[in-house]
């Protein structure tokens, strides 16, 4: 119809238009050559920045940052945090406010449309993966030499294997994670110790002991389900199964991942078909059959669960440090004043005395555009100081010495008399988070165990001591997919996970008998379980041979 040249021109125009519509430039290739040439990006950077140095920009700088607005401490322009940060580092942050309720959605939108601020914090490990392919974020592993404090912590705390778990198929990682010195377990079970005392029972240390305790409670209070569950969003049984999975050597609940590393077999196996997973389901099914656990545990809302606890219709419930102090105890104090609630160390099971968790925490992505800024090096140094240096972490968490806290000769920190945070100083009238802007979840995460525990009540420190006595499991190796594998895996992962979740609930509640386990495994095979595991193991083998 049209002459040849016109058609070709039209084809070229279509291609150009498509490329132009693809908003962030897909530029995955030439990073390694660019990475080394930082001569044009050093404006404002310190020449001698190292571990223990206070970062101070050589000229006033400002960087854009995505800021999660937490409803409990809404962002204020006059926070001492902002002004003191500028005073110490010469950097003014320009926050883009996002309500905490929809942070992930807004972040995806902003990064996907190429409009992202330079610094994108509050990104959990694994959630940076979708942005890698679009090239919108920087492969930060190329620039780790600009961050002496982070390198120092990785070396000091032996985090190399953890950092490796973040590597994508090209061997680079795209997230600067928050790092903990040690695995921090926060979630466990809370138990009514006054009932235990009444029935002359000890605090259970294993799931078998817990079973006996529940049976005794049921015998004494036959109309009550002693054990109830909560935190069922986004995953049914999220917290309960996660806590229990640790004891059985498997990943369950909100820790569920389709592939679990089997150290003896040196390969990955499908979590939902593991024997250990079946054992866990069996134990819970026994609890249900004996009327020890509330059948609504895995689906009810948090509010209903808390009501049951507060009205004495449940004695054991999943808990973390915050909910114990802020939710359960105040409610019980008014409804059942004689009640005593305690968070017990995670009960152990067939897997032994182990502590499961990751030492990596939510962290920072850097927008690709930041690389072209003339202040890029200064920005990396600034991030290194604020999030990874001891001084920066202390500042973000505790605030300004003399104003919000005092430090004695031994280095122990105490809040000043009129400042309160997480209930540590109930007489305080000003709140560290709300009024000063410190201990903000965007800036204050990770750090040494000493710093982490500095906010813990003595009771929580006891809990942590008991948990520290348990063995930390080795970090499983990564299995980074390339883009075709990722596409294929995405198609299979969600149906598999949904099916496992659905069937787990049915097995637990007795709607499906555990004798049908083999039939269930066959159904999983029908959902491409074997093909998925082959994909995973192949990716792992490839990574192993490429990078060992």
């Amino acid at each position: 119809m049209f002459p040849r040249s016109r058609r070709r021109a039209a084809a070229v125009a279509a291609v150009v238009l498509t490329l132009a519509l693809t908003v962030s430039g897909c530029d995955s290739g030439n990073d390694s050559s660019d990475a080394n040439d930082l001569s044009g990006n050093r404006a404002g950077a310190m020449a001698d920045f190292g571990v223990g140095t206070q970062f101070k920009a050589t000229e006033p700088l400002s960087f854009s940052i995505l800021h999660l607005n937490n409803a409990n401490y809404p962002e204020k322009k006059d926070w001492l945090f902002w002004s003191e940060l500028t005073k110490r580092t010469g950097v003014t942050l320009q926050p883009t406010d996002v309500p905490g309720s929809d942070y992930e959605k807004k972040r995806s939108l902003i990064v996907g449309s190429g409009d992202a601020p330079f610094i994108i914090p509050k990104t959990y490990p694994g959630s940076e993966t979708p942005f890698v392919a679009s090239g919108a974020i920087l492969p930060v592993s190329d620039y780790i030499d600009l961050m002496p404090n982070l390198k120092d912590k990785i070396a000091k705390w032996n985090l190399q294997a953890d950092m490796d778990s973040l590597r994508q198929e090209n061997g680079k990682y795209y997230l600067l994670p928050g790092v903990h010195q040690d695995v921090w377990v926060d979630y466990s079970l809370a138990v009514r110790t006054d009932i235990l005392d009444k029935l002359h029972l000890q605090i259970p240390k294993t799931w078998d002991q817990l079973h006996d305790v529940l049976k005794a409670m049921k015998a004494a209070y036959p109309t009550v389900y002693p054990f109830t569950g909560r935190w069922n969003i986004p995953q049914a049984g999220g917290s309960l199964l996660s806590t229990m999975g640790q004891a059985y050597g498997t990943n369950a609940g909100w820790s569920y991942q389709n592939a679990t590393w089997d150290a003896t077999a040196q390969k990955f196996v499908f979590t939902g078909a593991m024997d250990q997973y079946k054992q866990m389901l069996q134990e819970l099914n026994t609890f249900v059959k004996e009327g020890l656990i509330d059948p609504e545990s895995f689906t009810q809302s948090d509010e209903v669960a808390q009501q049951k606890l507060a009205s004495g219709k449940a004695f054991v419930i999943p808990s973390n440090a915050q909910s114990l102090v802020n939710e359960y105890r105040p409610a019980l104090a008014k409804t059942i004043p004689s009640a005593k609630l305690v968070k017990i160390p995670v009960p152990s099971g067939p897997a032994g005395e182990v502590k499961v968790g990751s030492r990596l925490e939510n962290g920072i992505m850097i927008s690709k555009k930041a690389r072209d800024s003339k202040n890029f090096v200064a920005m990396m140094q600034f991030i290194d100081w604020l999030w990874y240096s001891d001084a920066g972490e202390e500042f973000a968490k505790w605030g300004v010495e003399g104003t919000t806290y005092t430090k004695d000769a031994a280095g122990k920190r105490t809040l000043t008399p009129d400042v309160n945070v997480v209930g540590l100083n109930p007489k305080g009238t000003k709140l560290l988070q709300k009024d000063f802007g410190f201990f903000n979840g965007v800036f204050a995460y990770g750090g040494s165990t000493e710093l982490l525990e500095s906010f813990f009540s003595p009771e929580e420190q006891e809990f942590q001591k008991a948990m520290a006595a348990k063995k930390t499991l080795a970090v499983p190796p990564p299995f980074p997919f390339n883009s075709e594998e990722r596409e294929q895996a995405t198609l299979w992962e969600t149906p598999l996970k949904d099916y496992v979740t659905q069937m787990s609930l049915q097995f637990i509640l007795g709607k499906r008998d555990l004798s049908e386990w083999d039939a269930y495994v066959a159904e999983l095979k029908g959902k491409k379980m074997d093909s998925y595991m082959d994909l995973v193991n192949k990716a792992y083998e490839r990574y192993k041979s490429d990078h060992s």
């Binding site: 908003v23 992930e104 959990y124 909910s323 802020n326 409610a331 201990f439």
Partner: protein, 302 residues
């Protein structure tokens, strides 16, 4: 004189049949049930907003407040961010409704004229947008590249014309007799004169309805504000509320609860809900009579 043939009060109209009375009874029962079902959550929320936190958590508050106190009201009303956001909502709603009504009325009036050239195409364009849309990211890119980020225009312009409302108004205008406007034209009125002095007064009912629809929709909207606004002092109160209620349960990782992202107190949630709903509640009774009153006040004379 015959004293006192008192006129007995007779019910107007024919005596209702038995079938009709049964219908009235059943109708009454069903509607009462509907009223209870829809009223209960509202009364519950009001009761909660006046109760003490721990009674709510223990599940003991249903219709009557327990531990009556106005503390939470005092707390929320003294939060300056709440007032800033509330003022934003009012401003956005008023401006947006105004713009929407003007634009919708103009477009609907024009479309109702059968002699308009290209009328089908214009209607087609409007209806097309009901089924197809650019998608989230293209819309975002469009609005930000127009420089509307962090401005009220990003809220009031993109959703100014709701096509459903447009079609309703168009149908209404079409139902007005052509003779009316012809008579006005003979009397010497221009097109704008006809629109403002003949058509508008007759359309009070439909305009009032549309004002209400638009106002409620803009009052409740949060998504456009969430997308295009980046500063906490520009957010409408719906985002403030959403953050309070969904902010904690939106946690995607176990660790999130530990940094203080625990649930905002149930009493604060209910107080904010009540304060957000009150203005709409107050406006409804005044607009409602327009639905009921007759439409055709004048008629073709002669």
């Amino acid at each position: 004189m015959t004293v006192g043939t008192r006129n007995r009060q007779r019910p107007r109209g024919p005596r209702p049949t038995r079938g009709y009375r049964i219908f009235q009874a059943v109708n009454g029962v069903i509607l009462t049930v509907v009223v209870i079902v829809t009223l209960y959550p509202f009364v519950n929320i009001v009761a909660r907003s006046l109760s003490e936190e721990h009674y709510i958590v223990a599940g003991q508050v249903s219709l009557i407040p327990r531990g009556f106190n106005l503390e939470t009201y005092r707390l929320v009303l003294s939060d300056s961010i709440f007032w800033t956001n509330y003022r934003n909502t009012v401003v956005y709603t008023v401006v947006a409704t105004l713009i929407s009504i003007v634009l919708t009325t103009c477009y609907a009036y024009v479309l109702s004229k059968k002699q308009l050239k290209g009328r089908t195409a214009l209607v087609g364009i409007a209806v097309f947008t009901m089924f197809f849309s650019g998608g989230l990211i293209p819309n975002y890119v469009l609005i930000t590249s127009l420089g509307l980020r962090n401005s009220i225009l990003a809220i009031v312009l993109p959703n100014a014309i709701n096509v459903f409302n447009l079609l309703v108004m168009k149908a209404f205008f079409e139902s007005l007799p052509v003779e009316l406007e012809e008579a006005a034209a003979v009397d010497g009125l221009s097109t704008y004169g006809i629109l403002l002095r003949i058509v508008m007064p007759l359309s009070k009912a439909v305009i009032a309805t549309m004002v209400l629809f638009y106002a409620v929709s803009f009052w409740n909207s949060w998504f456009a504000a969430f997308l295009y606004l980046d500063r906490a002092d520009l957010f409408p109160v719906t985002i403030y509320l959403r953050n309070l209620i969904a902010g904690a349960t939106g946690a995607t990782s176990a660790g999130a609860a530990a940094d203080g992202l625990t649930q905002a107190a149930a009493s604060i949630q209910s107080v904010t809900i009540v304060l957000t709903v009150i203005p709409i509640l107050l406006v409804y009774p005044f607009i409602q009579r327009y639905f009921v009153s007759g439409v055709m006040l004048g008629a073709v004379k002669g």
